[in-house]
Amino acid sequence: MTIETKTCAADGTDRSDLIESLREKAREMRKDIVRMVGAAKSGHPGGSLSAADILAALYGRVMRHDPANPTWPDRDRFVLSKGHACPVLYAALAEFGYFPREELMTFRRINSRIQGHPDMRKTPGVEFSTGSLGQGLGAANGMALAGKLDGKDYRVFVMIGDGESQEGSIWEAAMAAAHYKLDNLTAILDLNGLQIDGPNAEVMGIQPVADKWRAFGWNVIEIDGHDLAQILDALSPEHRTAGKPTMIVARTVKGKGVSFMENAVDWHGKAPKPDEVEKALAELDAA
């Protein structure tokens, strides 16, 4: 099954159907995130839940990819530079058919194909191994450069974190993507505002972050990262600018969808206990 890139239909009914179906996908992905982190008794739920709507849109609509042929040379690529949020990536890959959903319950276990941080050599659909912050954007640049060299029309998507934006190598890559006019590259900043030790603003301020990317020569789009209509618009090919890489600054809520995890620093890298898993799943079902 090839999922083709299409722009959203002008017909309002089709579009609302699409958004409803992606919302359902995101809901299932969030439930899988809670289940797999709960089963693993470790992992990073907060920054996974904040990114679920964006990954649902990418894998469910925007990207040209084929789960039956994960190494298809002409596929669009997605790199999760904030690799600790891999539960959302695994949830998306399972949801869209890269591996059986039951395998999610092996997350972080010995001999599992789905590692604590993404491993491209073990997991089908993982485009690049990440986990050490600040490297995925550079790798995505390399993929975009290769596409230009080979005259291919694939797009490269990469998600970085707000805490990750404190890494110097992010800005080395920001400079290079603009210098090489990588308009086949779209980066998404998951701006949930929190990192391990507290709010970004207290640990190491990154604002005004959209202005920083503009100053580095990027086409910058600011959206609500949970509004699927805005997400789809920002990711559509029309919103690119010729000769410039695109940065989508997505304002999100860390822990989105689970009341007791929302905007709570502690849920960056903590697993829910069985009763908390049940409570979270009930909330997600009711939403």
Binding site: M120, R121, Q135, L137, A139, G142, M143, E172
Partner: protein, 324 residues
């Protein structure tokens, strides 16, 4: 006098050959292309040369992304930056991922010369050989460099190639055949094994001449692949000689001497001494002055051999008594 040529110059020429042979070869550099000699490739294949500016960490990540899309990516800068500044990118984005990236770093060792300690990488072999999946090659001269660059391009996976700034003697002729993982016995001997890499191979040959004049038969082995180490050839040599000296333009901790010590400690322990930088930083000076001051010349290797040989007879005496 033998012909003198820096290994970085041979690298620049080999890259151009590779570029002509294989359209998938791309080259990245961090604003040092005139020194690393990648400028020759840049001139002939401007579309496949990517200058990353002074940003070594991002160069490694970008090369990994290019390799993920089928490119053979060569990255070049000075060894101190390639392996120090960007070590974690090499580990995470190249070693762990087994990407087809070749880090070909120049200006290794004290023979960088006048630039001084900040620019003299004496730790790079140690740093790169501890990363799983990396092949580590230290060519001895221009002939071996050219072949090593071609071999690294054919080898699927990460490689580190260590190159020098200064001219070194051309010690191989066109009949030489380099193979990844094969150490080469350059001169046979029976009393002591001299294991060397890079520019120290020529010095080890000088040491063998010095020792020969004293009636000592030294075997000289060029260990140009540090990883995977050719343990078989190394052990075969010391089984014959019963004594070893290593010589490298690198700290004696963790490099060629470290690798051989590890292998011999497990496989066939013999008296040994490591010649190289003795756990200190370098300084400014000419290449030759620095090699003398830091005791990495043929006479220094010969001195080390005499010290090791003095420890050897005690062992044979014990064996001799047991035999009586």
């Amino acid at each position: 006098m033998p012909e003198m040529l820096a290994t970085r110059k041979a690298y620049g020429q080999a890259l151009v050959e590779l570029g002509r042979e294989n359209p998938n070869v791309v080259v990245l550099d961090c604003d040092l292309s005139k020194s690393t000699m990648t400028n020759q490739f840049a001139k002939e294949f401007p579309e496949r040369f990517i200058n990353m500016g002074i940003a070594e960490a991002n160069m490694m990540a970008t090369a990994a992304g290019l390799a993920a899309c089928g490119k053979i990516a060569f990255t070049s800068t000075f060894a101190v930056f390639a392996t120090g500044r960007a070590w974690e990118q090499a580990r995470m984005s190249i070693g762990y991922t087994r990407m087809n990236v070749k880090i070909a770093a120049t200006h290794a060792g004290v023979t960088v010369g006048e630039d001084g300690a900040s620019h003299q990488a004496n730790e790079d072999i140690a740093l790169m050989r501890v990363i799983p999946n990396f092949t580590v090659i230290v060519p001895a001269d221009a002939v071996e460099t050219r072949q090593a660059v071609h071999a690294a391009a054919r080898h699927a996976g990460p490689a580190y190639i260590r190159l020098g700034r200064a001219d070194v003697p051309v010690i191989f002729d066109d009949t030489y055949r380099f193979e990844i993982g094969s150490a080469v016995v350059m001169r046979e001997g029976t009393d002591i094994s001299l294991f060397a890499c890079g520019g120290m191979v020529a010095e080890a040959l000088k040491a063998a001449d010095i020792l020969a004049a004293e009636g000592i038969s030294a075997e000289v082995v060029n260990v140009s692949t540090i990883k995977p180490l050719d343990v078989e050839t190394i052990v075969a040599s010391v089984r014959k000689t019963g004594a070893a000296v290593s010589a490298e333009e690198h700290t004696i901790i963790g490099g060629l001497g470290g690798a051989i010590s590890e292998a011999l400690a497990e496989e066939y322990p013999v008296p040994m001494k490591r010649v190289g930088i003795e756990d200190c930083f370098g300084e400014s000076g000419t290449s030759d002055e620095l090699l003398c001051k830091y005791c990495m010349t043929g006479p220094n290797i010969a001195d080390a051999a005499r010290i090791v040989l003095a420890r050897k007879p005690a062992l044979s005496a014990v064996e001799g008594e047991a035999g009586r």
